[in-house]
């Protein structure tokens, strides 16, 4: 037979009939035909499991199932797991914080439901086996395992904190229910009827000139293709970038493609035509040009220059200098030196970039996943030659970001199609496009020397790093500036000289990825600290405690840390675990011989929250309507980390009304003020502070109106606001008020910008107003014959200043650790080679060990209620702690990451040959 067939199936208990191509992917039918978008697509290759559905009760990847094969069978999707209310499993996911961004959650839930059908009270091992085929990039899996194993329980009542008591509560995510019942709307989940489908043709070469051929003829032969656009069609300035002075990236390349994956041409067409479109014969004449993929090659005199105004292919160099480093190194008792190389890292969020664009009157509306709606608006407006207020960004739920969804991706592309054709346009990046075209963690080549006196005190550090920033600037300048500020670690380093260069190559674009280069630099610093501890005859934890910053210390940038320095407490908290772990490892190594060696490693982090020595404001608005609705304009984009919940908890306690009174309005740029980007571990601190100020301001306005003291207690019942002060209570009937243009009768809008100072030529100044601290300890076993590493336990102590939500904080730590495990042991992006999730490996549920989290509260005087940022901190210590534990176990020093089995094995052999 040819053409479509009748498919009859039992779908979530309903007999369903549909006509479809027999080999159409079931996932595509469910989402695009039946509009059951709870089933997510992350890879179309069976690598991520996000599309898991039950076929006759057995979990399968819907992306690999032809619809013809489901005829006469039953299919259960996430929408079919519960009937209106939530199942115990879904409740358990909420209670345990098992859903962060929520993009993997449907797949996890469906796979778990199959397990629970036969095994209602599974062990952790049984749960891991059942969920091994679903990837999660946010949670580190531990809370998912806990939720599945605890799902037999009837849900206890959820926390409902009283007014003023929200902070510190294990509140379930306020945006959690749609994430567990499949109704949350991500970038690919909503589009206007009649939308065109947009596809980009991209460069297959690292560097090539091109000319477009007879496009009109190609177009003419393909009915259903509506429009084809190239750089010449872009009405505005075809240069964008997250840091405006460095904006250098075209939305569509103009005559030269500078990296593999760069968009050249857009094709927009009707869905049916696009579904089977073959672009292999699209007329482009390519002339391949010489390329460089490594900074060393790019620095060579004969290397092709990527940008005329950037000699030597050097984008920027950042430096911090303090004291006399050379003299101190020369005169110190002990010096350790070394070099470390790290590869490109891919964010591998399970949601590829996706969104839709349409025109509303003369406004271009773009609804897409993002970390930075206002930056999207401004960059897109400039590219399309529109005033910013004629571009409206509506952020969808974002299925993971980790830094890469700070940069615009498809926003200008679908915007251009909508603008030029007048029709709505939608685009979903394939996994390959997502991996090839969007930013990466900077590969780093780093060298350092660190010295101590004969008392084990750090005297000096010299650090140089070359960071491969790829063809366009993106966040290269930020990495070059952040790394020198942080490369000392949270340790007193009186003499210090650190430089970091961002160097252009034709590799993938490097941008922001959880830590802006600091995780790479910390690997080298913490490796050398182990060497120095050994040289000084000191226990490795004791060596770190001896050098850790304390209140009143002066940092490498000359900033005096007046209060809130929590690294000492973090290390102290690990001490008993450290002693226990060293004993366990020694005993195990004594017992076993031969193939498996146990080891323990430790590393620390510090990390400045917010932009480095640059303005970084957030604005939060809230108001009370005359109907008694308390509306929080929550513009701090929640990409899974929990800002919807945390910002509300802070605001609620500042205002003095319970969480249950709040209604949230998202980061729609037409409705909500700019709360800045979700980046640099800044939302809890910066937007949280703005939320605190706004909450207090609203409270003050109400108290002023009621003419009562600060001690007054507020309560909201329907449209009646009660203000009780001492024995007297006054009821304010909101209905009687005349609302303002926003519908508010009481309102507040407050901004907060961290007090920082610019860095001088030597990198001296106060680049951040708040720092967060942490330390982690890793226990592992190395199979010395094979070079494989089995993680046994990670103990993480992090100073949050004030814990706003312990469940979400643990989730950030566990998720950061999982990414740190990937960085240490398996992740290596190679342009053109690992553009999928089976060659680019991220940790699975079987790769993250038990994690014990210790939350430390050393309040910061600047943060809201003392709080500090956490998002990036959690990833930084993990990789160096793992590498130090491998060294402890085997004496093998890994200096080229990731520590794949063959590299570990080689290092073990090398270490043996030295002894």
């Amino acid at each position: 037979m040819t053409g479509k067939i009748d498919v009859r199936l039992d779908l979530n208990g309903h007999r369903t009939a549909v006509r479809a191509l027999p080999t159409r992917r079931l996932s595509d039918l469910l989402r695009n035909e039946l509009r059951l978008t709870g089933t997510k697509v992350g890879c179309d290759a069976g690598d991520c499991g996000a599309c898991t559905v039950l076929l006759d009760g057995a979990p399968v990847c819907a992306c690999l199932v032809p619809v013809a094969q489901v005829t006469g069978r039953s299919v259960t999707t996430v929408e079919g797991l519960s009937d209106g209310s939530l199942s115990r499993l879904q409740h358990a996911f909420l209670r345990h914080g098992a859903a962060q961004c929520g993009i993997c959650t449907p797949g996890m839930l469906v796979a778990a439901a199959a397990l629970l059908e036969t095994t209602p009270r599974p062990t952790m091992a049984e749960a891991a086996q059942a969920l091994g085929g679903v990837l999660c990039r946010c949670t580190g899996y531990r809370k998912i395992l806990s939720a599945v194993c605890d799902s037999w329980r009837d849900p206890p009542p959820a926390a409902q904190p009283q007014a003023g008591c929200a902070i510190g509560t294990r509140l379930e995510r306020l945006d959690g229910v749609p994430k567990v019942n499949g109704t949350d709307i991500f970038g690919a989940d909503a589009w206007p009827e009649n939308s065109l489908v947009v596809h980009a043709i991209r460069s297959r070469y690292h560097h090539a000139a091109f000319e477009l051929g007879d496009i009109a003829a190609w177009h003419g032969a393909r009915p259903g293709i509506v429009a084809i656009f190239s750089a010449a069609d872009i009405p505005g300035r075809n240069r964008f970038g997250v840091i405006p002075p460095f904006a250098d990236q075209p939305a569509l390349a103009e005559s030269v493609a500078r990296f593999r994956g760069e968009a050249i041409v857009l094709i927009a067409g009707e869905p049916d035509a696009m579904a089977t479109l073959d672009t292999t014969d699209f007329p482009i004449d390519w002339t391949v040009l010489p390329h460089t993929l490594e900074p060393q090659a790019a620095l060579a005199a004969e290397a092709p220059r990527l940008h005329d105004d950037r000699p030597g292919n050097i984008l920027i160099e950042g430096a911090v200098r303090r004291g006399d480093t050379q003299a101190a190194l020369a005169s110190s008792a002990h010096v350790a030196q070394g070099a470390v190389e790290t590869p490109y890292g891919e964010h591998a969020y399970i949601e590829p970039e996706a969104g839709a664009a349409w025109l509303e009157d003369d406004t271009l509306v773009i609804q897409a996943c993002t970390q930075a709606p206002y930056m999207d608006r401004d960059d897109t407006a400039a590219l399309l030659d529109l005033p910013p207020d004629r571009v409206r960004i509506i952020p969808t739920a974002t299925g993971g970001g980790f830094g890469s969804k700070l940069d615009i991706s498809l926003q200008p592309l679908i915007g251009l199609v909508a603008l030029k054709t007048g029709r709505p346009a939608r685009m979903v990046y394939s996994r390959t496009d997502s991996m090839a075209a969007t930013t990466k963690r900077h590969p780093a080549h780093m060298r350092a020397r660190i010295a101590t006196d004969d008392q084990g005190r750090i005297t000096a550090m010299h650090f140089t790093g070359d960071f491969n920033t790829g063809p366009y600037a993106s966040w290269g300048p930020t990495v070059a500036n952040r790394v020198p500020v942080h490369a000392s670690g949270p340790y007193c380093t009186p003499n210090y000289h650190a430089t970091a260069r961002a160097i252009h190559t034709n590799g993938a674009i490097s941008g922001a990825f959880r830590g802006f280069g600091v995780p790479q630099a910390t690997i080298l610093q913490e490796l050398l600290y182990d060497d120095l501890a050994l040289a000084n005859g000191l226990d490795r934890l004791e060596f770190r405690r001896r050098n850790a910053y304390r209140d009143g210390d002066v940092t490498v940038t000359g900033q005096t840390l007046r209060a809130g320095v929590g690294i000492g407490k973090c290390l102290d908290a690990l001490a008993p675990h450290w002693t226990r772990a060293l004993g366990d490892a020694e005993a195990a190594n004594h017992r076993a011989g031969g193939e498996h060696r146990r080891g323990v490693g430790i590393a620390s982090c510090w990390y400045g929250c917010g932009n480095t020595a640059l303005p970084n404001p957030s604005t939060i608005k809230l108001g009370l309507t005359n109907a008694g609705d308390l509306i929080l304009h929550q513009g701090a984009t929640d990409i899974g980390q929990g800002s919807n919940t945390v910002i509300t908890q802070i605001c609620a306690d500042a205002l003095g009304l319970p969480i249950s009174s709040f209604q949230l309005l998202g980061g729609d740029t037409a409705m909500t003020p700019d709360a800045g980007k979700t980046s640099a571990s800044r939302q809890t601190y910066v937007s949280g502070k703005a939320a605190e100020l706004a909450g207090r301001a609203l409270r003050a306005a109400i108290l002023r109106h009621a003419n009562v003291t600060e001690a007054a207690v507020l309560a909201l019942h329907g449209a009646v606001l009660t203000v009780a002060d001492g024995g007297a209570a006054r009821a304010i009937d909101l209905v009687s008020f005349e609302p303002d243009a926003d519908g508010f009768v009481f309102r507040a809008e407050e901004s907060y910008d961290p007090p920082t100072t610019p860095l001088d030529a030597n990198g001296q100044g106060d680049p951040y107003a708040v720092y967060g601290y942490g330390a982690q300890m890793v226990e592992l076993a190395v199979d010395v014959a094979l070079g494989t590493v089995k993680l046994l336990k990670i103990t993480a102590a992090h100073d949050l200043g004030r814990v706003i939500n312990p469940t979400l904080a643990e989730g950030q730590i566990e998720g950061g650790i999982a990414q740190g495990i990937g960085l240490a042991l398996m992740e290596e992006y190679i342009p053109g080679r690992t553009e999928n999730l089976h060659d680019y490996l991220i940790p699975t549920i079987g790769d993250v060990p038990e994690i014990e989290t210790i939350l430390i509260e050393e309040p910061d005087p600047e943060g809201p209620f003392g709080a500090k940022g956490l998002g990036e901190h959690a990833l930084i210590p993990t990789a160096p702690a793992i590498l130090n534990a491998i060294k402890d176990a085997t004496n093998a020093r890994i200096t080229t990451l990731p520590a794949l089995p063959h590299r570990v094995r080689d290092a073990i052999v090398a270490a043996r040959s030295k002894t």
Binding site: M1, T2, I5, L21, P22, T23, R24, R25, D28, N32, D44, A45, G46, D47, G49, T52, L55, A58, P59, V60, C61, C63, L64, V65, P66, A68, Q69, A111, Q129, A130, G132, G133, V134, L135, A275, T276, S430, T432, A785, L786, G787, T788, L825, M826, E828, I830, T834, H838, D839, L841, P843, T844, I845, G846, D847, L900, P901, H902, R905, D906
Partner: protein
């Protein structure tokens, strides 16, 4: 584009006689290879053919039908010689993949990293290929010719894997090496089947995958082991040099050639120890 989903084998063979078609079973290798929402070209979907799914013990041989999934195999009650294959079944992709992917599909896809091949090589697996004209049998080692290349003719369907009972003896073990726990392409994997009589190895079958274009049996090492007393001393006979005579690993992102050879020898030592019951 034509799609056929016959319910009878004869019908399927007739369709194949009519011209080249992509054969669709579990789909787990076909869909990852395309970007589109539907498979292109002419398709023969064998999922509805009666009698193609299942594992049957015959008088002379065991027979694994072409529709049999890895989950079917993992759940079947089988002799200890199948242990390696059952262990492999649980390491293929994920539960989701195992539920739809077929064992025969794993062979027809002819990936050097196919986890099913070593475990079937040690069982002297033969493939039953049927066309409208005739049925023929090919040893597995002669079926997979190279990377993504098999001896199947375009008018043929692989209808079953046939495992002669003389090879279904002793106990087997499978060892897989990857850079993460689940859903991982093997750096190397091995299967070993050992039969023991009076504390001595009476029969040895060893195979290595992911270390050459096609997984290999290690015939000389097998003969070297036969007659040896089981025990820790066996390990010294299974060295990288012995392995290197049979395989030619490549260096790639997952490991160097030297490492693969070394690791394969180590995996073999462990598999032999497990299969011989001396681990």
């Amino acid at each position: 584009m034509e799609y056929g989903r016959p319910t009878e084998l004869d019908e399927a063979l007739a369709l194949l006689a009519g011209g080249r078609r992509t054969i669709l079973a579990g789909g787990t290798d076909l869909y990852p290879a395309i970007a589109a929402a539907a498979l292109p070209g002419d398709i023969l979907d064998i999922g509805a053919i009666a009698g193609l799914r299942g594992i049957v013990e015959g008088a002379e041989a065991w027979r694994i039908g072409a529709g049999t999934t890895w989950t079917d195999l993992a759940r079947a009650t089988l002799p200890a010689a199948f242990n390696a294959l059952k262990q492999a079944a649980l390491e293929i992709g994920s539960v989701q993949i195992q539920n739809t992917a077929t064992i025969v599909g794993n062979l027809c896809n002819a990936s050097p990293a196919a986890d099913g091949v070593p475990a079937l090589l040690i069982l002297d697996a033969q493939l039953e290929l049927q066309s409208a004209e005739k049925t023929r049998h090919l040893p597995l080692k002669d079926f997979i010719l190279g990377v993504r290349k098999t001896a199947r003719r375009s008018n043929e369907l692989v209808t079953a894997i046939v495992l002669p009972k003389r090879a279904v003896s002793g106990r087997s073990d499978f060892q897989k090496l990857g850079a993460r726990r689940y859903l991982v392409i093997s750096i190397a994997m091995v299967a070993a089947r050992i039969a023991v009589e009076d504390d001595r190895i009476s029969e040895a079958a060893l195979a290595i995958g992911s270390c050459s274009a096609v997984a290999q049996r290690l015939s000389s090492l097998e003969s070297d082991l036969v007659g040896r007393r089981i025990g820790p001393a066996l390990a010294e006979h299974i060295c990288a040099a012995a392995v290197a005579t049979h395989v030619a690993p490549i260096a790639d992102i997952r490991g160097s050639a030297e490492y693969r050879t070394h690791a394969a020898a180590e995996l073999l030592r462990r598999a032999v120890a497990n299969a011989a019951g001396t681990a």
